[in-house]
């Protein structure tokens, strides 16, 4: 029985710094430019922290950047319009669906031992793993048949905290 496959990072609060999404350290590389998602593309190995969950998008009213008919400067100032946000489980929380302690008794992993691929001789090529690409480009793999027991691995890569859950 699978519970879903998720890798999460850090703890953030939307707009907590008052600067809006995408301004956290390690976040989006580059500054917003005309073209809605262009600024979300980042160079490897940096991995943005889930820019699609941002609640705003930057749009430009510049009709055609290559036009020789220069638009008044005011019309090229990017405007921020809200994008619809997906509801979270917290938004729709119903206590009837919560059963604490059910299924507990699993032992989570804290900073588990990670070994080179060549040493994992017990792992068959057909086994399913969850792969993580950290912000610093390093990679980690978690075999599902182990994570189906532990459910949680807390780990640090390149000084940043990651949470791998199953």
């Amino acid at each position: 029985m699978m519970l879903g496959l998720v890798i999460l990072i850090g703890m953030t609060s939307a707009c907590a710094d008052g600067q809006g999404p995408g301004t956290e350290s390690g976040g989006i590389v580059g500054t917003p430019t005309p073209g809605v998602v262009e600024s979300q593309v980042r160079e490897a190995p940096v991995r943005a922290r889930v820019s699609p969950s941002d609640d705003t998008r930057v749009e430009s009213v510049a009709a055609n950047p290559t036009s020789t008919n220069a638009l008044p400067e005011a019309t090229t100032v990017p405007t921020v319009t809200p994008r619809p946000q997906s509801p979270t489980a917290a938004d729709t929380f119903d206590p009837d669906g919560l059963m604490m302690e059910a299924g507990s008794g699993f032992i989570p992993l804290d900073e588990p031992v990670m070994i080179p691929a060549t040493e994992a001789t017990w792992l068959d090529d057909g086994e399913i793993v969850m792969g993580l690409v950290a912000n610093n480009g390093e990679t980690r793999a978690f075999p599902v048949r182990q994570m189906a027991y532990h459910h949680i691995a807390n780990l640090t890569v390149g000084g940043e905290p990651y949470l791998v859950t199953y």
Partner: protein
């Protein structure tokens, strides 16, 4: 693992005892609830070990802990096998019979819109599905035979990238090559990674319980 909510695992942090769901990183109960605090979901590359280590030869992998060997599944873990344990079912707030409960889907949650892509209906080898979700052009990068799929935003500099697979290689309309992790290998964007559209592989019952409004690709 602290319990279950809506058929899925919830966890507690040790500092505050707040209860979190890993399905979207939000907090259901406890001192941190109601403050908009949220963990951010990163891409989880759900695939075979052979595929992963070939694409990422420098990867490290979780060590084998002999003290838990009796708790680990033997052999290849059977993902998506039928059945739901009663305690999971009891906590479900929504039951959706559009698909079998254990059908493996890639769930994509992008700017207020959710869609499920049935892995078993996407084909055998590497495949790219172009779609529109949450107002963006997205691309599903999938290798269903490896149980791999993730979604990315398929736009660069205002231009929609159109991907195809030729002889097992992903290329865009300019002929530039990309890998399964959404990274450009050649061409003007070489080294760039497409923006992730929040997505992960899950069983249908959980996806549809958390996102009752979800659509299903192709239906």
């Amino acid at each position: 693992m602290a319990g279950l909510y809506n058929g899925l695992f919830v966890m507690r942090d040790r500092q505050t005892g707040s209860v979190w769901t890993h399905y979207d990183g939000s907090i259901l109960q406890g001192p941190l609830a109601g403050q908009g605090v949220k963990l951010e979901i990163l891409p989880a590359y759900h695939t075979t070990w052979g595929d992963w280590r070939t694409a990422n030869p420098d990867t490290l992998v979780l060590d084998w802990y002999p003290e838990f060997k009796d708790n680990y599944r033997q052999g290849r873990f059977e993902i998506g096998r039928a059945g739901l344990r009663p305690e999971f079912q009891r906590t479900l707030l929504n039951w959706d019979d559009r698909l079998p409960e254990n059908e493996l889907v890639l769930g994509v949650n992008h700017y207020g819109e959710q869609r499920a892509y049935v892995l078993g209906e996407l084909g055998g080898g590497p495949v790219i599905i172009a779609d529109e979700l949450g107002g963006d052009q997205i691309a599903i990068f999938a290798d269903p035979g490896e149980l791999y799929a993730l979604a990315f935003v398929a736009v660069r500099e205002g231009e929609v990238l159109i991907f195809s697979v030729q002889d097992g290689v992903i290329i865009d309309q300019t002929g530039a090559e990309w890998d399964m992790q959404g990274r450009a290998l050649t061409g003007p964007y070489s080294g760039a990674v497409l923006p992730f559209a929040t997505s992960f592989v899950s069983e249908w019952y959980g996806w549809s319980a958390y996102f009752p409004e979800t659509t299903i690709y192709g239906r």
